[in-house]
Symmetry: D2
Subunit: 369 residues, 4 copies
């Protein structure tokens, strides 16, 4: 990862500000011959798009992606793919007051201190709007994975919103797409709507916990010791706006366990090793075991709230601020498709890395003569 680029071989550079003419992603390193068009990417952008339910910002963005390069007759050519999304609903008047006042919890003050200049309109580069570019790039990664690792699935869902958690006994993956919160628990989804309505009317916001599950990752995918698959996934999640923690498998709870509790015993199944449990979250030593990869991350509550908060101006005066404008009461909701996109990019990147160093398949065999 460098300033605005991530990935080793599948390299994505995002660009653009919240209220500039456009934003996008420059995607380099995609394999050739991958079927792709704007519609295939738009599917993912539409999942993230603001204004689709009353639980996300009412800013109305078409979020239509244009592919400016890298395709020929419906396939990738192996050259850079430029994905551009025009900003259409910028309403910069909403943001005039924040040119001078720093919004608590936002990057206004740190960008100012670092650079001595910042685009204050909508948070500029630090706006969550940057994540649209991530989702677009993730669409390219998904398409390439469809060719190179078709058995892989990547699914994000919310497991906690504020003090509400899902009930694991009601866990149902089929529910995820049926509610505006991506919650795999129908009952929770119903209750959380009312909860969030109350918070929104109150000008309040709330945090969230997202879980990400990746199935079908080939054993051997990943790499020691600084390009670990879990390191790369964790970094990808931590780079998303408002994320404050990330964990894999047992995660933070691993601190409380004994070695006996935590051991994932191994037996032999008809298709290879079978694990009795998955405390590891599908990764050992930075390399996939072939089990499901399970990780979770926490998103802080939206910092833009209608409650007055103390702050200072650029000139050093103390003042108060109420962040009006259109904001998500729970940014965690839109973090779900963003996290999926980031995970897709990381997984594709590791498919390419493995192919480079080792070849298309795991090199070690178990149980064959």
């Amino acid at each position: 990862m460098s300033f605005n680029t991530y990935g080793h071989l599948f390299r994505v550079t995002t660009w653009g500000e919240s209220h500039g003419p456009a934003l996008g992603a420059t995607v380099d390193g995609c394999p050739p011959g991958v079927p792709l068009d704007a519609a295939a990417i738009q599917v993912w952008l539409d999942r993230r798009k603001p204004g689709t339910s009353r639980y996300t910002t009412q800013r109305r963005e078409a979020d239509e992606v244009e592919i400016l390069s890298g395709l020929y007759e419906g396939q990738t050519t192996g050259t850079p793919i430029q994905l551009m999304i025009r900003n259409t609903d910028q309403r910069s008047k909403d943001y005039s007051q924040i040119e001078d006042k720093f919004r608590p919890g936002h990057a206004d003050i740190t960008y100012w201190q670092k650079y001595g200049i910042r685009d204050p309109r909508g948070g500029g580069r630090s706006s969550a709007r940057e994540t649209a570019a991530r989702v677009a790039a993730g669409g390219v990664a998904r398409a390439a994975l469809g060719v190179l690792a078709p058995e892989m699935t990547i699914t994000g869902y919310m497991i906690q919103m504020g003090d509400r958690r899902i009930d694991r006994d009601r866990f149902d993956m089929d529910q995820i797409d049926r509610n505006p919160f991506w919650v795999p628990d129908a009952e929770a989804a119903g209750e959380w709507g009312a909860y969030l309505d109350g918070l929104r009317k109150d000008g309040q916001s709330v945090g969230a916990m997202i879980e990400l599950r990746i199935t079908g990752a080939m054993p051997g995918l990943g790499a020691p010791v600084y390009a670990k698959l879990d390191t790369d996934l964790a970094a990808a999640m931590m780079s998303i706006n408002a994320v404050k923690g990330v964990e894999i498998g047992e995660g933070m709870n691993a601190a409380a366990l004994t070695g006996t509790d935590n051991a994932d015993e191994i037996t032999m199944g008809p298709d290879g090793p079978v694990y009795g449990s998955n405390h590891a979250g599908g990764i050992l030593g930075g390399i996939a075991t072939g089990q499901d990869i399970v990780l979770r991350f926490a998103v802080k509550p939206t910092s833009s709230i209608l409650k007055p908060r103390r702050t200072i101006t650029r000139g050093g005066q103390e003042t108060e601020i109420v962040t009006t404008g259109r904001h998500d009461p729970c940014v965690g909701i839109r973090a779900v498709p963003v996290a999926e996109a980031m995970a897709a990019a990381v997984m594709l990147d590791h498919v390419l890395l493995h192919r480079a160093q080792v070849g298309p398949t795991p090199r070690g065999r178990i149980g064959q003569p």
Copy 2:
């Protein structure tokens, strides 16, 4: 981060296996004119060294670092610094059985699957012994920070071991160096000794939670959006063996908060902005606020335990394994100096990145005309 290298400008490549002739770190990008000698690095290695208390592995390694390049007359020259540590106590007989059997919770099976070849002696490259090289490189980073950011401090300490947690009311930084667990709580330290003795005698192991506190980080240090300071710190921690989760500021708990709870209000002090709280953990939008940077990470219990566990052989036979040999009942203890070292490297790297793009100081001023 590439396979065995981390850092943007201060680049560290570690090399070596647990039972090879030596291991080390190749450090590139260090500023010239930094006072440095082997003794200055040895200080940090001695904190991590195995065999110093009965709570860590009884493997006795001198862990003496030799500096093979990059110095002249006691100062760095700006050229690569090669840090080599000879392995002196290898006892490879202890590890003969694991050539064929995969130890649950270890990377034995995934390295085998990925590469089709692995050095089984002591876990080879996936051994925690690799972290000695990290600590040595961290010593170089500490020395350079001593010149470029002398006001910065980096301190790690244990806050949880198994189900024991410190009492924050007894928190005392001065205690950290006075007990073998790096615990800032004298009473806990006493109790945990007995707890760990019990576990060790039982052939058991236990997880741990480490907190890292960095003071004196200049406002403006860090970078959006994929080289975020918190992203780089999180990746650095996740790359350490056995780490399963990392969080900053409120961390995973941020999911449960409301926006009102989470806002760090800002007022104006004599020297600049003053924050009423530090839910953010000292970083906003990937850039330091100037507050303390606070992060935590969880280390899983040592996978090598004296309890028999089910596993398979390379040939696919089901079997049991008891990992004899010399192991830490709580690898979290030695993770403390390792985490400090990784943090030092990340902080120096960002000092250099900031200097490159912006200059030696923050560019934006608050409160001056």
Copy 3:
């Protein structure tokens, strides 16, 4: 350099094909606070623009750059700068025959073999049109150098076209902008016009040699041993379409010299070291001496000519091809602004690298107590 990106800290990723909707450059790592607008970049693009004289391709491209991100109120903000140039005159009918036939001397056949798919319209990604994006990015680099190294100048000019060479006795930098060939020799310029007219009418093309002179590079700029300033400049030149060789100082002629001939003796002047000659071309050990940096590179003749040439089709049939369409009889002409742009990016990159590792100025002093 990775696939479509160059630079260590000032990183430029170009994207786009000759006949796609647009092409451009994603520029990351630019310092904040640099005055910049589209007009400042357009100046450089206009120098490269096709169709401005009868000696370059008659394709008429407006080559108008749009800046889509990274600016606020006329200054760079330190975030990515997206430079987009729309393709307006694509005439893809001109290129229909080359979908199937490989043009000798072009990358048609190698792109096909590598990727199994290619955009044949105008050469797709391998078209010299890609260099417009380089020139735009170079405009950003020039602007940043204007702030960080205002004393630096970067000037390219043609010294040979086919078998014609300039007369060094008539060398006059002021002539460069006064003729369509960027030749620092008024007499040569006149004669070369007639020469090139003849070649053009004959459907022929010709090679060229360009010299690049960089003045005002601070002693100490550059870096050993693989990021050498001359290595990076050479790579930048070699990456330009049709460049077949690059040399610095005495260059290829150095093979013929003795040590006595080649030594640049040093004396002491009022402002520091003074060199009696510049066989080294301004760089020793990859680091600038402070003398002029002088390099040269050769551009092969345009491969698209009106002479029939033997080739094969994708299906393996032997055939002939005559490349009609609008082409430069000497692509070396337009290589001059491209080389200047690449050099500007490299020089800025090294200014940032030096600032990161050492600070804003050289660290060693000569002659001061």
Copy 4:
């Protein structure tokens, strides 16, 4: 390439100074399962070793490589390979005078100016001794190519020394290993010995031109547009000490040609495309055609000569210097194995890059249905 590292996926970091305890190369990204031992690398080091004939420096270095990591039972494991070479004959007394005086043509003055500190003993990091590490790393690359591209050959040879050139009519690859100059012309070899003896006795030195020929490179190897195969090869050569120019195919001579002269016509042979000539030097658009890759580079005369030369001291005093000590009268001789090693690393790197993005073979077919 960063400061002391080269390669995209096969990454080599060299370290060490001329008169430190050791120097070496940290090699990351090597595929697993490659047969390798110290002897396989020593073969290449012995070709470069000083003191093997009277035409190279009389410094006697054993140049014995130790492999400290990355192997198990005679094969690479995919983890970093540390190659260390002890310096055994350092004689630092020879170099005492140059601590204060800058040797013309050497990097003494620029290292000093950049860093404000330098190891003057034997030139420190800027010594040609660093190339021993390159040759060792090249040995690893050769071994991996032996598995992944066994049909590839990489051969360097000298074609010019001072004003002597080989006669292409006498060109005989079998002669290369039969004379101390790696000259493919038996008659030239005889004559050049006398020529060089004369120069050496006179305390003089001389430049050289080396040609490198790579056969068996698969069509499709390489990558646009900044990781071009010729760009990477050129950068690799330019990074070698004393190299002042590099060219591919027609090289600098391309400036003088017409398009008709330069076209490499294509016909169809039984195994695929056949080219009527190779003006391109085997690479089009940065991607291999499958023809021989042919490049040349010029090495300047050794700067250390026994003729007094004017220079200055660190304190700014004017003085003279005669560089006594043991030096090669023609450093070009030892540049031959170094260039081969660098080329091997670049070619392997591109084999891995191609495998990552495209797969093990070219993707496009010509002539098949």
